[in-house]
C-alpha cells in the first residue's frame, strides 16, 4: 500500500493529506478532536468519498465508493461505537453479512466452528454460541475485532479500540494486534492514549486541523513531542477576551457523580466569569452539564446556588434555580423545528407569559422581538420557522430562549461548533456582554484556542474525572492536552 493522498476542502475537512501504511506494521494516527482522523479513516473505508485524491493499495489505484468496495479490497474497520447485533450469537455476528451457506441456508455448524477457531486464534476466550448482548462491552469489542479479522483483511483500522477496555483487557488486545501484525496485516490505530501509542505503534502520523503534520517512526518520539505537534498552531488572538469584574461564586458543584460516566466532579463558577470545561470527546463533559441541568440523573454530590444547596431533578427545577443549558446537539435538543423563532424563544418561560394557561400573544411577541433585535437574529422575523434559519442564527435563537429565562448560570455546550467564523465571533461577543453584566458562564469546548482565548479558568476532564479549575495564566494548549490525555495529572 503506497501513498494515499486525499484532498477534502471545506469546513473542518482534510486538506491534501498524504498517508501511507505498510503491511505488517502498526501505524498510529493521533490528533485533537476534529483534527480529521475519523474523516480520513471513513474515506479509507468507503464511507465518505474524497473530494479529490487517490488511494492505492499495493501500487494499484483503487476507488472506493461504498463500504463494500473497501471490504472487497481487504480493508476492515473496527468502529468506536460497536456495530453488532445484540440479539444474535457471537458466531452470527462474526459472520454477519457473509454467512457460510449450505443449500441456501445458513450453515450454523460451520459458523460456530469457524468462529471458535478465529476467537482462539486471537486469544479470546468467548463462547461462539453465546448471545452477544450477554457479553461485557469489552468482550463485545473483541468480537468486533474477531469479525474484522475473520474477513482475512489486508488492512485493519481500529478507532479508539481501548476506550471501553480495562488495562488488562487492553493488554490482551495488544497481543492480538501483535499476532495480526506478524501475519502481515497493516494496522491503523487511532487513539487518544498517547502512552498506548508509544507502546504498540511502529509509526505515528500526527494530524492537526485537517492537515497532516508529520509521519515518523514511533521510536524516539515522546508524548510531550506528540502533544506539541498536535496543538502547535500559530497563536493569533482570534478570541479577544472581554474583561469583566469577577464576583462571588454563583454555582458550586461538589463531588458530583452519576455512578457511570463521571465521578467526583467539583468546581465553582463566579459571577462575571467564564469557566471552561474541556477534555476529549467522551470525557464526560456533556454528561456533567446535563446532570446539573436535570436532564440526566445525579447519583451523588451537591450543588449550591448562591450558597444555598439545591436539588435539581428536572430542567424545570434547574430553570427555577437559575441554571440554563444550551445543548451541543442543536438539531436534536436545541430547536423545535416546526415552530417559529418566537415560539422557540418563549418555550421555557411560557408560564410567565400566560395567565391561567392562556398565552398572551402580545407579551410573547414583545419578548421575541426584543431578543431577535438584541442578538441580531437574521432574518429579523420572529415569525419565521426556526429550521429555515442558518446554523448560527438558530444558535442565537436557542441562546435567546435561555436568556429570556433570566438565568444566573449559563451552561454552553460547544456553542460555536458548526457555525461559521462570523457567527462564532458574534456568539463570543454576546457571551462577553453577558459576563460583563455579571452572569456566570460555564462553556464546554473542545477547541483549545477558544478555551484559552475566552475562559477565565478551565476545568479539564479525563475519563469522567475533573481537574480543579486552573487559572488561564497557568495554562497552555500543551498543558490542557497533557491533562486531557492523562500525561499529566492535576
Amino acid at each position: 500500500m503506497r501513498g494515499i493522498t486525499k484532498t477534502f476542502p471545506g469546513v473542518k475537512a482534510l486538506s491534501d493529506v498524504n498517508f501511507q501504511v505498510d503491511y505488517g506494521r502498526v501505524h498510529a494516527i493521533v490528533g485533537e478532536n476534529g483534527a480529521g482522523k475519523s474523516t480520513l479513516m471513513k474515506i479509507l473505508s468507503g464511507i465518505y468519498l474524497p473530494t479529490s485524491g487517490t488511494t492505492e493499495i499495493a501500487g494499484t489505484e483503487v476507488r472506493m465508493r461504498k463500504p463494500a468496495d473497501a471490504q472487497r479490497h481487504g480493508i476492515r474497520m473496527v468502529h468506536q461505537e460497536l456495530n453488532l447485533a445484540p440479539d444474535l450469537s457471537v458466531a452470527e455476528n462474526v459472520y454477519l453479512g457473509r454467512m457460510p451457506r449450505r443449500l441456501g441456508l445458513a450453515n450454523r455448524a460451520a459458523m460456530i466452528s469457524g468462529a471458535r477457531a478465529i476467537l482462539s486464534e486471537i486469544g479470546a476466550t468467548i463462547d461462539p454460541a453465546a448471545r452477544l448482548g450477554d457479553l461485557s462491552i469489552s468482550q463485545q469489542q473483541l468480537v468486533e475485532i474477531a469479525k474484522a479479522y475473520a474477513a482475512s483483511p489486508r488492512i485493519i483500522v481500529l478507532d479508539e479500540p481501548t476506550s471501553s477496555l480495562s488495562e488488562h483487557e487492553a493488554a490482551a488486545l495488544f497481543r492480538i494486534l501483535g499476532k495480526m501484525k506478524a501475519a502481515g496485516i497493516a494496522i491503523i490505530y487511532i487513539s487518544h492514549r498517547l502512552k498506548e501509542v508509544l507502546d504498540i505503534a511502529d509509526d505515528v502520523t500526527i494530524l492537526r486541523d485537517g492537515a497532516m503534520i508529520e509521519t515518523r517512526p514511533a521510536e524516539g518520539i515522546t508524548a510531550a513531542e506528540m502533544i506539541r505537534l498536535m496543538v502547535g498552531r500559530e497563536v493569533a488572538n482570534v478570541f479577544p477576551k472581554v474583561q469583566s469584574e469577577i464576583g462571588a461564586p454563583v454555582m458550586k458543584v461538589t463531588g458530583l457523580g452519576d455512578g457511570d460516566s463521571f465521578d467526583n466532579v467539583s468546581f465553582d463558577v463566579r459571577a462575571g466569569e467564564i469557566l471552561g470545561l474541556t477534555g476529549l470527546v467522551g470525557a464526560g463533559r456533556t454528561e456533567v452539564a446535563k446532570a446539573i441541568f436535570g436532564l440526566l440523573p445525579v447519583a451523588k454530590g451537591t450543588l449550591e446556588i448562591n450558597g444555598k444547596a439545591v436539588t435539581i431533578t428536572s430542567p424545570a427545577a434547574a430553570v427555577e434555580a437559575g441554571i440554563v443549558y444550551v445543548p451541543e446537539d442543536r438539531k436534536g435538543e436545541g430547536i423545535v423545528p416546526a415552530m417559529s423563532v418566537r415560539e422557540n424563544i418563549s418555550l421555557p418561560v411560557l408560564k410567565h407569559l400566560s395567565r391561567l394557561g392562556y398565552v398572551s400573544l402580545k407579551a410573547d411577541k414583545a419578548l421575541a422581538a426584543k431578543y431577535a433585535a438584541d442578538l441580531g437574529i437574521a432574518p429579523p422575523d420572529p415569525e419565521r420557522r426556526i429550521n429555515l434559519l442558518s446554523g448560527g442564527n438558530q444558535q442565537k435563537a436557542v441562546l435567546s430562549k435561555w436568556l429570556a429565562a433570566n438565568p444566573s448560570v449559563l451552561i454552553l455546550d460547544e456553542p460555536t461548533r458548526g457555525v461559521d467564523v462570523g457567527a462564532k465571533a458574534e456568539i463570543h461577543r454576546i457571551i462577553g456582554e453577558l459576563v460583563a453584566q455579571g452572569m456566570a458562564v460555564v462553556m464546554i469546548s473542545s477547541e483549545l484556542p477558544e478555551v484559552l482565548g475566552v475562559c477565565d479558568r478551565v476545568v479539564v476532564m479525563r475519563d469522567g474525572h475533573a481537574s480543579p479549575p486552573l487559572d488561564r495564566a497557568e495554562l497552555s494548549e500543551e498543558r490542557i492536552m497533557a491533562l486531557a490525555t492523562g500525561e499529566e495529572t492535576a
Binding site: 430542567p315 434547574a318 423545535v336 423545528p337 418555550l347 442558518s390
Partner: protein
C-alpha cells in the same frame, strides 16, 4: 459539513415561491374538495340539500367530531393514535345508561365521562411515563377496559331508563340539534387549548421535537399523557351522547370510531408524525369525509367501495403530509 445542512438564504426565491403555492394548496385544497363534493351531491341527488339530510350529516359528524378533537391532541403530541377509543366510547355509553337507575341521569353521565378519562390517563401514563408504544398501550388498555365494562353489565345490551335525558339529546336549539351544539363547544374549547394556551404550545413542542422540548423545561411526559386523557374524556362524552341518543348500548357500540376519527384528522392534514396540525384542520377533514360518505350513501355506493375510497383518502393524505414535510411547508 455544517454549511451543507443549512438552508441558503439568498438563493431560495424559486423554492420559496414554490413553497408558497404548496402552502396555499395545503391550506385551501381540502376546502375546494369539499365544495366539489357538495356541488356534485347537490346536482346528483335531490335529497342532498334538504334540511333533513343536512341535520343527518351534522348529527353523525358530531359524535365522531368530539373524538376527532381529542385525537388531534394525540397526533399533534406525536402519540400516533389512540386505539382505545372504542372501549372508552363503550365506557361512556354503557355507564351513562346503566348507572341511571342507581345514581340518576346527570351523575351517571358525568361519572361515565370521568371513568373514560381515567382510562385515557392509564394509556397516557403508559405512553408518557413508561414509554410504551402508543399503539400497543392504547390497544391493550382498550381491550382490558372493554372486557371490564362488558363483565360489569353482564355482556348484554343496556337500555336507558330516563326519558328526560333522551329528550334532552334529541332537542334542538334554533333548529340545531343539541348534540351538534355540544360538538361545536368542544371544538372551540379544543381549538382554544391547542392554539392559545401554554398546554397547547407544549403539545406542539413535544410533538415536533420531544428532546428539545424536554431540554426547554417542558413537562414532556405529562403533556404526552395529557393528550390521552383529553381523548379519553372526549370519547367518554361522545359515548355518553351516543348512548342517550340510542337509548341502548352494546359493548361494541364504539367499534370503528377510532378509525373514523383518525381518518378525519389525517385527511385534515394533521401530521401523523406530530408537531403540526390544528383542531379546525381536523374538523375540515371530518367535514370532507362526512360529506363524501353521505354523497356515496345517497348515490347507493356499496359499503366495500366506500371503505376503498376512505382508505385511499388516508393514503393520499399521509403521502401529502410526508411530501409537504420534505419541502418544509407543513
Amino acid at each position: 459539513m455544517s454549511s451543507a445542512s443549512e438552508p441558503a438564504q439568498g438563493t431560495g426565491s424559486r423554492f420559496q415561491r414554490n413553497s408558497a403555492m404548496l402552502e396555499l394548496l395545503s391550506k385551501a385544497g381540502l376546502g375546494l374538495a369539499i365544495l366539489v363534493v357538495i356541488l356534485y351531491g347537490a346536482l346528483s341527488s335531490p335529497v342532498f340539500f334538504t334540511t333533513g339530510n343536512m341535520v343527518n350529516i351534522l348529527t353523525s359528524m358530531a359524535i365522531v367530531g368530539i373524538v376527532v378533537v381529542g385525537m388531534t391532541f394525540v397526533l399533534v403530541v406525536g402519540g400516533l393514535a389512540d386505539l382505545s377509543v372504542p372501549a372508552t366510547i363503550a365506557c361512556g355509553a354503557i355507564l351513562s345508561l346503566a348507572l341511571q337507575p342507581s345514581i340518576g341521569a346527570v351523575p351517571a353521565f358525568a361519572l361515565a365521562i370521568a371513568l373514560a378519562g381515567f382510562c385515557g390517563l392509564i394509556s397516557g401514563l403508559l405512553v408518557g411515563y413508561v414509554g410504551i408504544n402508543p399503539i400497543i398501550a392504547t390497544l391493550g388498555v382498550g381491550t382490558i377496559v372493554l372486557g371490564i365494562v362488558q363483565a360489569a353489565v353482564g355482556g348484554v345490551i343496556v337500555y336507558g331508563t330516563n326519558p328526560a335525558s333522551a329528550d334532552f339529546v334529541k332537542s334542538r336549539v334554533f333548529g340545531i340539534p343539541t348534540i351538534v351544539l355540544i360538538f361545536l363547544v368542544v371544538t372551540l374549547v379544543g381549538h382554544f387549548v391547542l392554539g392559545r394556551t401554554t398546554w397547547g404550545r407544549w403539545t406542539f413542542a413535544t410533538g415536533s421535537n420531544a428532546n428539545a422540548a424536554k431540554a426547554s423545561a417542558v413537562p414532556v411526559r405529562a403533556v404526552k399523557a395529557g393528550a390521552f386523557v383529553i381523548t379519553g374524556l372526549c370519547a367518554g362524552l361522545s359515548g355518553g351522547l351516543l348512548g342517550l341518543t340510542l337509548q341502548s348500548a352494546r359493548p361494541l357500540v364504539g367499534t370503528g370510531y377510532e378509525f373514523s376519527a383518525i381518518t378525519a384528522v389525517v385527511v385534515g392534514g394533521v401530521s401523523i408524525m406530530g408537531g403540526f396540525g390544528s383542531v379546525p384542520r381536523a374538523i375540515v377533514g371530518l367535514i370532507f369525509v362526512s360529506v363524501l360518505t353521505n354523497v356515496m350513501v345517497l348515490e347507493g355506493v356499496r359499503t366495500p367501495t366506500q371503505g376503498f375510497v376512505l382508505g385511499l383518502l388516508i393514503a393520499v393524505a399521509v403521502a401529502a403530509d410526508v411530501a409537504l414535510r420534505r419541502r418544509g411547508v407543513a
